[in-house]
Symmetry: C3
Subunit: 346 residues, 3 copies
């Protein structure tokens, strides 16, 4: 997408200095600016780059007074950061796949694909599945039997959704996400082998959820594994069967939640953190990266750290002493010696 | 699949109270029961739900005496839990893919696909590969050259099996599992770069193994990376080259095993645990979640915890003191003061 | 690939004892040798296997004096290990996919695929993408709009590359790698929900990089997430937006790097280690497995361990005391008692 300086200036209600016809196709950082891109100067400590950047257009504050000549076309705006947000949205609205069902896709005749939805090449929509208005199914995606996908979702290449799962509206699933694989349930037998426990539930993802690449969400044994509206899951996350992730909870990459655990609303789960099964985390719980949670957290807003996790500040205090344990041991040894000497004297 | 109450009652050799013609298509939990589903009352503490559930059919013990009227059709059985297991199996026996090679699949002419096997759309079976009787290859699966897959396996959408790998019978591979990717082997060169060490072995998976979504098992440098019969691997697990996982060993999600390590039979490896390379774990070893194992474990049945791992109880005892380290440091400081005073006096 | 003993002997400039016509198709370990394979005797402690192995050919040192008869054909060489490296290369040069664009692949008419490149079945090359000479795109790979792939790369089945990403020459991407998924960026809103921050940058992978199966590298918000030449990434790794991984840095499986962190050259990042965002690691940093790095590392060659990480030896020393914390606490209690007695006396 090519846009001229004048078009952007109008969009941002700014004022223009320089060539109104110069056009750009992408944003870039001011220190990495290239011709054909637009950069911005928000933080004054980057000002020196304004005089050297090769960006075609530079977005600056209305009251910015350059100390040296600037080659880029300037657009002056009231609020640089707000304008950047508008710009990013503008450039992000790219549509790569043409709407409609591609000739090389397979859509079962019993499936319902909305006329404004897209099903790209080598994608598969099985029996009884439903794809809502405006939803884009990229190539090589698999939608199992009786799956329901809401409106304006994006499923990137390679996403696999097992049968009976349900997605709300405005969800984004990145490449190779797996929804609805069997929960990890096995009944131990007398001879040491395991018998598979059939996993008959599904996965229910509510509206406005984004799920990162290669993340896996297992189907429930019975009932649903649930991701509540507004939750954001990063890449390579494990969500086990019958888990529930609360509204607007954010999980960082490579974290994992074991079976039947319920995570509250507005929680923050750090990267590589792990939660055992069958516990509840109160709303607003903050789990530090790499922590291991092995018991329920009942008080909303609690911050925890460590494996097994302690209260955040308690862990830091204990760890501070852990760092000087060799010194502490030495002190103890010296005390013992001195005490032994005193005992001799007394 | 729709089944009537009478059909289920006959299957379970129970007695029926209510409408024998009401039909259900899935099980549900008693507290989440919906019309068209069957629930069960096993644990007496859920009894109150029996009077409110919307499930069409309710499975109860023969001697259950309702305290209030129940809307659902009742099926009374001798052993509720045993009947549930039968039911789950019954509902789990769904077959989504029609047998045979689909028109949109690619099967090399030198490959051997059993007449009762299924190869679904956009799946690929390369030269010399063999697919056993009753095995189901879902869409978008890749089976490399000379791969052998046994009987009655299920490979879910997106599974990738590199050339020369071998799978036994009754194995289940969930979506986007990768078998046989190159082991991570590089020879450091004088200039700081690395030269790839060719990985020429394969992966051998024995019978009755289940492997979770997005798990990766690398091929051996030479010989085989081996998953023994009955082992169960959860999602997002890393198995490096030349590893061996013993019979009936269970590994939880996001755990990882480095190169050439041998894990014994009937071990339990917790979630996010990591094992260094070139060690052996005795049969029945229990590794707590998030632990890091950096040396061999020789005694069968050992339980370990921590990173690096200690004996399970030792870790808990040390961690209990870790929690009160700030207090312990304080005590030490006080002792030192008191001792100094005593020394002055003496 | 079948090769005779004579052909291998010529290749390795060795001398032959036994049948020059016996042929082999793969290497094997001496203790697992099978007919039709070649094994080697490098380490003298494996000598006993030389007399029992079923390998058709055995590679030995020129000065090796067998104590017993050997059934295998012998090839004597000056340097056994150097010869093995040559052999492994020889057997590793297998080409499974025929060059050219397969009939069942989709290549947009605006894409440029070099005549010596391969695009296999059900692979997709979108608008404006470029595939260099000798590069092999395996089945079911997705190459997004305007992606550039250099020469002699291998992209294994199921790799997904989002639009605008750039790969250098001689790169290997294993199955289900995802390049260019959206960085995890959300702006918190007053009502507790999150607004997606568009991710408009790309991923730039330089020459000679290998990336393991199911690893994910997110695109930059603006600019590029960069993997420098010669870096080697294992399986299931998370690389967040705007990260840079330095030349010849090696990352083990399941490690993760949060947003905007810069890892230096020739670093070693252990398995399951995690790095917070917005820090820099000096060249040659060594991060022990499962460690958590939460602050910059400025001194080149630093080794660190623990979560949060300490200097490697400091962590080991502290952990050694951690192991005996219960004893240490007991000693402290005893000291306190003795001191109390002394105080009474004084």
């Amino acid at each position: 997408m090519q846009v001229t300086a004048q078009q952007l200036c109008d969009l941002l209600q700014g004022t223009l200095e320089g060539d109104p016809e110069v056009s750009v196709s992408a944003p870039s950082k001011i220190e990495e600016g290239r011709p054909g891109t637009i950069s911005f100067l928000g933080n004054p400590k980057y000002e020196s780059y304004a005089y050297t950047t090769a960006s075609s257009i530079l977005l600056v504050s209305r009251d910015f007074q350059p100390a040296e000549p600037i080659k880029s076309t300037l657009i002056r705006v009231d609020d640089v950061y707000a304008s950047v947000a508008i710009l990013l949205d503008q450039f992000g609205q790219s549509q790569e796949q043409e709407a409609g069902v591609h000739a090389d896709a397979f859509v079962d005749e019993s499936a319902e694909v909305h006329t404004t939805a897209t099903v790209a090449r080598f994608a598969i929509i099985e029996k009884g599945a439903k794809i809502g208005a405006g939803t884009i199914i990229y190539p090589q995606v698999y939608i199992g039997e009786n799956v329901t996908i809401g409106e304006n979702c994006i499923l990137f290449p390679g996403v696999k959704v097992y049968r009976d799962c349900v997605l709300g509206d405005h969800c984004i699933l990145h490449s190779n996400v797996v929804l609805g694989s069997d929960g990890f349930g096995f009944a131990p037998q007398a001879d040491g082998t395991f018998k598979k426990v059939p996993q008959l539930g599904n996965v229910l993802v509510e509206n406005n959820v984004e799920i990162g690449a290669n993340t896996v969400i297992d189907r429930a044994t019975m009932g649903s594994t649930i991701i509540r509206a507004g939750a954001k899951l990063d890449n390579l996350i494990q969500i086990a069967h019958n888990v529930e992730i609360g509204h607007n909870t954010v999980m960082a990459a490579q974290s994992g939640v074991a079976g039947s655990t319920k995570v509250g609303k507005n929680c923050l789960i750090g990267g590589q953190a792990g939660l055992v099964g069958h516990i509840q985390l109160a709303d607003g719980t903050k789990v530090q990266a790499q922590s291991g949670i092995n018991k329920p957290i009942k008080k909303p807003g609690t911050a925890v750290y460590g494996s097994p996790a302690l209260a955040y500040n308690d862990y830091l205090r204990s760890y501070a002493v852990f760092r000087r344990l060799p010194a502490l041991q030495q002190e103890l040894t010296e005390l013992r010696k001195k005490l032994a000497e005193l005992e001799k004297k007394s």
